[in-house]
C-alpha cells in the first residue's frame, strides 16, 4: 500500500517564525488533506489539496502530485499553532474516502 512520510517529526519554533512541513507519498493519489490536531485533541481540516496551491490566512499549502509531495507553510507562527499536523492521502485506485495518514509533525511554538 501507499506510504506517507512527514518531516520533520518534531519542530520547535519561536513565536513569529515561519516554517515548512513536508509530506511525501509513494504512489499516485486522488486527494490529499492536511489536518491540525490541537493540544485538546481536536482534528481540524486545514486544506483539501490534491494539487495546486491554496492559502488560508497565515497558512498555505502546495501539492505537486506529479512529484508526490505536498508542503504546508505556516507564516508568523503563533502559540495557538502548536499541535500535530497530519497529512492524509487517498490512494489512486483505492477505496474512495479511505484516507491514509502520515505519522504527523509535532509543532511547538514558544512565546
Amino acid at each position: 500500500g501507499i506510504q506517507v512520510e512527514q518531516s520533520p517529526p518534531d519542530l520547535i519554533l519561536q513565536e513569529g517564525a515561519n516554517s515548512t512541513l513536508r509530506c511525501n507519498f509513494s504512489d499516485s493519489v486522488n486527494n490529499l488533506q492536511w489536518f491540525h490536531q490541537n493540544p485538546w485533541g481536536q482534528l481540524i481540516n486545514l486544506f483539501y489539496i490534491p494539487s495546486g496551491t491554496k492559502q488560508n490566512g497565515r497558512l498555505s499549502a502546495t501539492t505537486v502530485a506529479t512529484e508526490r509531495y505536498s508542503l504546508l507553510y505556516i507564516s508568523s507562527s503563533q502559540t495557538t499553532d502548536s499541535g500535530v499536523y497530519f497529512c492524509a492521502v487517498e490512494e489512486y485506485g483505492g477505496s474512495q474516502g479511505n484516507l491514509i495518514f502520515g505519522k504527523g509533525t509535532k509543532l511547538s511554538v514558544k512565546p
Binding site: 482534528l43 477505496s95 474512495q96 474516502g97 484516507l99
Partner: protein, 113 residues
C-alpha cells in the same frame, strides 16, 4: 451548532464489557467514518458508510460493529472489550464517498481497565 458530535467524550470501562459510541453530523453529508488513533497518535480508518451502506471495512476484529440508522448517524458498538482497544475513536463525515474533505468529531477517549 456542532458539525460532527460524538458521545461520550470519555469512556472508562472494564475488560470484557460491551460499549457503544454514538456519532451524529448535521452537515447534510452522506458519508461517515470511524477512525482509531492509538497511543502513538497514529490514525487509521476502521469503517465508512455511504447512505447507510458499508463502503470500507478495514481489518478490524469482529467485536467492532458499526451501525448506521440513517445517513446522519453512525454508531460504533464494541463487544468484549480488550486492553488493546484503549484509544481515541474519531467519527468523521464528508459529502459523497469520493474524494472530498473529511470533517472530524472531537473524539471519544476509551480507556480499558
Amino acid at each position: 451548532d456542532t458539525a460532527v458530535s460524538q458521545t461520550p467524550k470519555y469512556l472508562v470501562t472494564q475488560m470484557g464489557n460491551d460499549k457503544s459510541i454514538k456519532c451524529e453530523q448535521n452537515l447534510g453529508h452522506d458519508t461517515m467514518y470511524w477512525y482509531k488513533q492509538d497511543s502513538k497518535k497514529f490514525l487509521k480508518i476502521m469503517f465508512s458508510y455511504n447512505n447507510k451502506e458499508l463502503i470500507i471495512n478495514e481489518t478490524v476484529p469482529n467485536r467492532f460493529s458499526p451501525k448506521s440508522p440513517d445517513k446522519a448517524h453512525l454508531n460504533l458498538h464494541i463487544n468484549s472489550l480488550e486492553l488493546g482497544d484503549s484509544a481515541v475513536y474519531f467519527c468523521a463525515s464528508s459529502q459523497g464517498s469520493g474524494s472530498q474533505p473529511q470533517h472530524f468529531g472531537d473524539g471519544t477517549r476509551l480507556s480499558i481497565l
